[in-house]
């Protein structure tokens, strides 16, 4: 597999949210607006890329029996890094995302890539895989956040271009399920048309 297709597979073909249905909790919980979705996506991308690099370096040294706990410790370390960094530099976004930042550690995508890809591949492919998957995740979260923000308050990234109140339910909890359901429905329809 070429590096380019390794990088781009996360966007549509193996998109973690739309196709693999991984990492549903932050996907639904943080996408009340496009900017929140993007912040969450980028934080996850950082953890994903860095932990992929470290795990690909140390995978050979770890006995098979303690593989998963070791991976989780590496991931948790990077989550702590991004948690403290965001609390320091982006306090507003950090408090918006709240609990979901420490919860990156239990995001199935991160452990999934560590186990399925980084532990079996070299440093560079693992870095590219992490970045590609992370940006695919960011893309999905931003799209979902933008959809919900547009329908819920008539704005995208805070720029309001539809006057009026919008459909409040899309900013609330049920709207997250509805919006994601319909986005996956559209993706399925498009994928079927292509094949």
């Amino acid at each position: 597999m070429s590096q380019l297709s390794n990088f781009t597979k996360g966007f549509l073909r193996e998109n973690p949210v739309f196709v693999l249905l991984l990492g549903m909790c932050p996907t639904l919980g943080t996408t009340t607006s496009a900017i929140n979705g993007m912040g969450m996506g980028l934080a996850t991308t950082f953890v994903l890329a860095m932990s992929n690099v470290v795990i690909s370096l140390i995978a050979g040294l770890i006995p098979a029996k303690v593989r998963i706990p070791s991976f989780i410790v590496v991931i948790a370390a990077f989550v702590t890094v991004i948690d403290l960094a965001m609390a320091g530099f982006l306090p507003a976004l950090h408090s918006q995302l709240g609990l979901f930042i420490p919860l990156i550690v239990v995001n199935c995508i991160v452990l999934g890539r560590a186990e399925a890809f980084a532990s079996k591949n070299g440093v560079l492919p693992s870095l590219i895989d992490g970045l590609g998957m992370g940006l695919g995740f960011t893309f999905a979260l931003t799209l979902l956040g933008a959809t919900r923000e547009l329908l819920g308050s008539g704005a995208i990234f805070g720029f309001k271009f539809i006057s009026g109140d919008g459909i409040l339910v899309f900013v609330l909890a049920p709207g997250a399920f509805f919006a994601l359901g319909f986005l996956i429905l559209i993706m399925n329809k498009l994928a079927k048309k292509q094949s």
Partner: protein, 190 residues
């Protein structure tokens, strides 16, 4: 009275799955059969309660006195991973049929954000030990309640002719959305 408020709030008003979005992965993954989802709910209840007690001790007797609060995420997830391993070993011995039924999802409780989420929430809210335990049990019941209800709906949905692109994830998400809408009706009780 405090306990009653915690319980009602956790099960109905701020349901952990439908309004806080914790534990959505098993919610969508193991909810095809009522039987399986009950097993999952039981396993989660057990792990969540013990995890909350242990992380409470860890936070207040080790992390805070030593001034290493920033190790919270690392320490908590390790404790939970160890607990899940233990539950897996016990279940394998005590109830092999349940162990078979839960299959892949048992190790996945480690990466069930509901367990770590509730442990973190209890610490963040600064609840005393007894209230933390009640909080954990109530949230686990809320999780099980949502899971079993959803599984019941999905069992009935199996008999319905659904348009092709809607099968699988989309219809599950839309159903969950309607369920979440129903749970919004509880807002304002406490």
């Amino acid at each position: 009275m405090e306990y009653i408020i915690i319980v009602i709030s956790a099960i109905f008003v701020n349901n952990i799955v439908l309004s806080q979005f914790l534990g959505v992965c098993p919610f969508l993954g193991v909810s095809n059969k009522v039987q399986t989802s009950m097993g999952m709910a039981g396993a989660v209840t057990f792990v969540m309660t013990i995890a909350t007690i242990v992380t409470y001790m860890l936070q207040n007797f080790i992390l805070v006195p030593l001034g290493i609060g920033y190790m919270q995420t690392v320490a908590f997830i390790l404790v939970i991973a160890a607990l899940v391993q233990m539950v897996e070993i016990i279940l394998k011995k005590v109830s092999p049929s349940l162990y078979q039924a839960l299959g892949i999802f048992l190790p996945l409780i480690t990466t069930n954000c509901a367990v770590l989420g509730v442990a973190l929430l209890a610490v963040q809210k600064d609840l005393p030990l007894m209230q933390s335990v009640v909080f954990a049990i109530a949230n686990a019941i809320g999780f099980g309640f949502a899971l079993v209800t959803f599984a019941g709906i999905r069992e009935a949905l199996d008999l319905v002719d659904i348009p092709k692109p809607m099968r699988g994830a989309p219809i599950a998400l839309l159903t969950a959305g309607i369920l979440a809408l129903a749970f919004m009706g509880f807002a304002g009780i406490v």
